[in-house]
């Protein structure tokens, strides 16, 4: 088929369960211009270079064709994920102060006991069940509970936040469909509502501080000053959504992959100390974020003999780079002992995932707790039903059942 239709085929929901043959086709074709004028990159070394290239903007408002800029980016305060330096750096630096080193080096490590307790509690609840949905029973409630605790969001507000999150994710979805405008509008409304919620919560924490990250953020004053209310709303919304959505996929993909490959499963069951490396391999082999759709060159940029013009949508298919045989030996093999595993599971460069250490700790603890429980279980269906998004790709449900 024509390389010009690759993006359309990758985003087509029919290919969600197994996009990897399309990624191989993308790598074969090199940098490919799509019928809509966007450019796709799926080879490891080219993606790595672009992620470190200051000419490549993360702010899609730099696009030449305004219709390719998502609605929510047009007229509100942006979170740092969609901004360039120095603004990105300033906002990210302020958000990092209450989250990690050098100012709060112990915050994530201190969550380990809590994460273990939450994870064990969830597993206890399905101890006697013969059928489990790994997503609803485990992979979703764990990171949600953890991010609420970290930020200081009351757990009882989670159903409302889940509804907003789903609308926001649907709003940035690039799956072809007729309802795109209404989805974008609903996503924008949900984002605004969530921003107000985070703004109000920040006000409360300013009055009555607790030991959570939001309280620390509103009371902190470093050399870069404090976030404005609008910046707090955008940053809080980003941390809350990105702080759990992707981890759900990582944990679910772990369970799915272990059940698909019994040799890897037995290895991890017998040697739980291998889990940190297994999680890195999962981040390579089945990453929670498959592509970055918002990059834009600020000047004409040459990428392996193709000129990508200034202002064109540039789409980096991280999950294709993760399977590039020019970078990884036997890339389609899941190897929990893989050495030299510099994957794009958390991106790379200045925008590398802010929450990566939290995701790592959660996935390591969750999967080590889950593995012994999977002993007598098999997948009820393979492939499982997938969520709609080709960007945040993962199963919507992962039904498993006791054997025999």
């Amino acid at each position: 088929m024509s390389p010009e239709t690759l993006y359309q085929r990758i985003t087509d929901y029919a290919n969600r369960a197994n996009p990897y043959p399309l990624y191989a086709e993308l790598r074969e074709n090199g940098v490919t211009r799509q019928a809509d004028g966007s450019y796709l990159v799926g080879t490891y070394h080219e993606i790595a270079a672009l992620l470190h290239d200051p000419r490549i903007s993360s702010d899609s408002r730099n696009r030449a064709d305004p219709s390719t800029v998502p609605m929510f980016r047009r007229n509100s305060q942006q979170a740092f994920i969609g901004l360039d330096d120095p603004e990105h750096d300033r906002l990210r630096r302020i958000a990092m102060r209450p989250f990690g080193p050098p100012h709060s080096p112990g915050r994530i490590d201190a969550l380990r006991a809590d994460i273990t307790r939450i994870s064990d509690g969830l597993i206890d609840e399905f101890r006697d069940k013969d059928r489990i949905d790994v997503v609803e029973d485990f992979a979703y409630p764990l990171p949600v509970t953890v991010i609420c605790r970290l930020l200081g969001v009351p757990h009882e507000d989670m159903p409302q936040l889940r509804a907003w999150t789903n609308a926001v994710i649907a709003g940035v979805d690039v799956t072809p469909g007729k309802d795109e405008e209404s989805r974008q509008r609903a996503g924008q409304d949900a984002r605004a509502a969530m921003g107000e919620y985070m703004g109000d919560l920040s006000d409360k924490r300013r009055e009555n501080p607790s030991d959570d990250m939001l309280s620390a953020l509103v009371h902190d004053s470093g050399p870069d000053g404090r976030l404005t209310r609008a910046e707090l709303m955008a940053t809080g919304t980003l941390l809350l959504i990105a702080g759990h959505e992707t981890t759900v996929n990582l944990i679910t993909n772990g369970a799915l992959t272990f059940l698909r490959f019994p040799d890897a499963y037995r290895l991890l069951r017998d040697k739980p100390e291998l889990m940190p490396r297994a999680v890195e391999e999962l981040l390579r082999y089945e990453p929670p974020v498959h592509l970055l759709p918002q990059r834009t060159p600020l000047a004409d940029v040459e990428i392996s003999d193709v000129t990508v013009p200034k202002g064109a949508p540039l789409i980096l298919v991280l999950a294709a780079g993760n399977r590039d045989p020019l970078r990884f030996d036997d890339p389609d093999h899941f190897d929990p002992t893989r050495e030299d595993n510099q994957h794009f599971g958390f991106g790379s460069g200045v925008h590398n995932c802010f929450g990566a250490p939290l995701a790592r700790v959660e996935a390591q603890i969750a999967l080590n707790a889950l593995v012994p429980r999977l002993e007598d279980f098999q997948l009820s269906e393979d492939p499982p039903p997938y969520r709609r998004s080709p960007i945040l790709r993962g199963p919507r449900h992962l039904p498993i059942e006791r054997v025999g």
Binding site: P101, P102, N341, A356
Partner: protein, 66 residues
Amino acid sequence: MQIVVDLNRCQAYAQCAFLAPQVFELHGEEALMFTPTVPDDQHEHVRRAAAACPVQAILVGERAGP
């Protein structure tokens, strides 16, 4: 357990300072300090940190010497 960090590779992603804060420490936003001889109760933390390093700059040896 002994560790060496290749500071030519290190790009200050700081994953080690999150995952093993008693062994790896950031001074300012980029300078990494670490304890080359790892205390016994930190071995697991250091293995996790080494696995997580995005540029694979942490070398872990189980004992000192060649």
